[in-house]
Every structure is written in C-alpha cells, then in structure tokens.
C-alpha cells in the first residue's frame, strides 16, 4: 500500500516538474504592443510605426498627384542599413508600396529595383521570342514595359549610447522620394524611435 502511495506521489511530482519545464508559447496580436522590445534591435513594432508614419506623411504631401491625371509609377530603390544589426529593410518598403498601391495614387513596378528586379519575369518572358516552342503572337513585345517616374529610397541609422547599466538605441528611419526625370527629392521624411533598457546586475 505504502509502495503504491510513494509511486503515486513520485508520478505526480514528475508530472508537475515536467509541466513547469514545458515551453510557454502564445500567439500575440501582431498589430498590438505585446511584442518583445529589445534595445539593440529593430523590433516588428518599430517597422510598423516607421511605415505608418512614413505613409501618412507621403500621402499628405500630395507629391504623387500628377497634372495629367495618370498614376505615378514608383520603383523601390535601396534602403541602406547603417545599423549594427542584420536587418531586412524589405518589411518597411513592402508596407509602403502596398499602402501606395491601395491608395490609388501610384503603381509600383516590380520589373526594376535598387537591388535588381523584384520579379525577373518581365525580362524572362521577353526572351521567349527566341523560343519556337511559343506562339510568337502571345509573347510580350519589347518596348511595352513602363519605366518608373519616381524612386523610393531610404536609410536606417542607429546610434547607441550607454551610461552605467543603462543602454540606449536611437533609430533614425530616413525615407525619400526622387523624381527620376529631374533627380530631385520631391518628398523626404524621417521617423525617430528611441529605446532604453537597463542591464541586470548579474548576467548580460
């Protein structure tokens, strides 16, 4: 009887220990503020804030409106990463290009981009004119793709400071829209995000 009780206690204790060691994972609202905040990194909330503020500023500026009524064609140029972290700036540019597309003010081209075309297909399909497998009347002709009017570029700069156990990161998201006909920047804005954290007494 005693052995049974001891076994039961043992099993219960093991179950308790195992459940305590289990991973604690949950889904969070990607648009909320519950995400992790780290001092040195650009967290997903930072991208969202930078994109939202940048888009609001760009739409309000009215630079996308053309006198001829045609929609402006935008290419996504490079967003230079001048931070100490490896970050993919595509999160920012994709959000901006989607917002501009939905605004009805501009169209973005995927045939040309600062880091090469987003979609190489526009070029690839034109090579089919040398391929007798394809009905040549259905092959996209040369000289039909539309060249961009404007280019969106930017830079993300990080400045770090520390004092005692306090650490601080300042991220400067700079965005610019260049009129490709004149080479002039017709819109520029920046979003600043500053984060502060305290190192624990033990560990790092």
């Amino acid at each position: 009887m005693n052995k049974k009780i001891i076994s039961l206690i043992g099993i219960s204790c093991t179950a308790l220990v195992l459940s305590a060691c289990g991973p604690s994972v949950k889904r969070i609202d990607a648009t909320g503020n519950e995400g992790l905040v780290t001092v040195d990194d650009v967290n997903f909330k930072d991208w969202q804030i930078a994109a939202e503020k940048g888009i609001n500023s760009l739409l309000e500026s009215g630079v996308l409106n053309r006198a001829d009524g045609r929609k402006s064609i935008l290419m996504i140029s490079t967003v230079k990463n001048s931070t100490t972290q490896h970050i993919d700036t595509r999160i920012l540019t994709d959000k901006i290009r989607q917002a501009l597309l939905r605004s009805g003010k501009a169209l973005t081209t995927t045939a040309v981009g600062g880091n090469g075309p987003d979609d190489a297909a526009s070029k690839q399909v034109r090579r089919l004119e040398e391929d007798d497998m394809f009905n040549q009347t259905t092959v996209q002709k040369r000289g039909t793709a539309i060249a961009p009017d404007m280019s969106l570029s930017g830079e993300i700069v990080q400045q770090q400071s520390s004092q005692g156990r306090m650490r601080e990161s300042y991220f400067f998201f700079h965005m610019a829209l260049t009129d490709l006909a004149t080479g002039l920047a017709v819109w520029e804005d920046n979003v600043e995000i500053a984060k502060q954290g305290k190192k624990p007494l033990l560990g790092w």
Binding site: T31, G32, N33, I49, L59, E60, N65
Partner: protein, 153 residues
C-alpha cells in the same frame, strides 16, 4: 504624529519631482477647423478620467483623402491627481491608439499598416493624434485609445 508628518513631507517631495506640462497659446485663433462630433471616439472608463478628448477635426485634402486630427489632453494635474498618478505608476501616461477607416457603406477598409501606435502623454500636455485615410473611398473613421501597459516601466 511625527510619522504622519514625515510621510506627508515625503509625498510632497515626490510630487514635486513629477513633471507636468504648462502650455501657452494665442487666444485669437486664425485657424478655421472643421469639427466633427466625438461620438466616434471610444475609450475605456479608466482612460476617460485621465485623457480628455478636446476636439476632433477633419479636412479633405485636394486629392480626396481625409485627414483627421484628434486633440486630447492629459487631465491628471493637481496635487491629489499627482499623488494618485504616482501611486498608480501612470505618470507619464502610456497610451496606444489606432485609427480604423470606414467606407461610405460603413465597411472597414483594409489598410497595409493599421497598427497600435504607442505614445507618452505627460500630465497637462495636449497631444494631437493625426491620420490620413489610406484612400479616397474612406469617408468615416473610428479612433481607439487604450492604456499601453506594455510600455510601463
């Protein structure tokens, strides 16, 4: 009695350390604003006692987009409010807000970036929450404001 005296002095010192914002502005306004009723702003009861919505203005831009501005003021000023704010840890006050856009039929317009934007509001300060509609189909909006517990120290 001595203890009570010490506690009162400590409280006064602590309150003295908390910053509030003082503002000065021109009385004769030249701006012409288009005010909208504030029934479309939603806040919880707790927030209502801290953040007062002063005005909601809108402006239609030349290209048909709508710009809205909600002016809110942190009304937790004064001695007892400051004592309470210090005790509750909400000075400065951390909020998050999000605009939702609706078309002429009242349907929500999906946007590429609708997200909760965090903001710090110092007692006595007036903040202006701005947004531009994502496209010209948007005719109406709602603004949600909530406490940003994640930003509290």
């Amino acid at each position: 009695m001595k203890t009570l005296y010490l506690i009162s002095i400590s409280c006064l010192l602590l309150i003295g350390c908390q910053a509030t914002v003082n503002t000065v502005e021109n009385e004769q306004k030249t701006m012409q604003v288009e005010a909208v009723d504030t029934s479309k702003v939603s806040t919880d009861a707790f927030l209502k006692n801290r953040l007062e919505v002063v005005a909601v203005n809108k402006k239609e831009l030349a290209d048909g987009l709508l710009k809205v501005q909600v002016t809110a003021r942190n009304i937790r000023t004064g001695f007892w409010a400051q004592v309470s704010s210090w005790f509750m840890g909400d000075n400065p006050y951390q909020i998050a807000y999000r605009f939702t856009w609706l078309d002429i039929d009242g349907m929500q317009v999906n946007t590429a970036t609708s997200t909760w934007i965090p903001l710090t509001v110092v007692p006595g300060d007036t903040v202006r929450l701005n947004a531009i509609s994502p496209n010209s189909r948007c005719k109406d909006f709602t603004l949600s404001i909530r406490e940003n517990d994640a930003a509290r120290g």
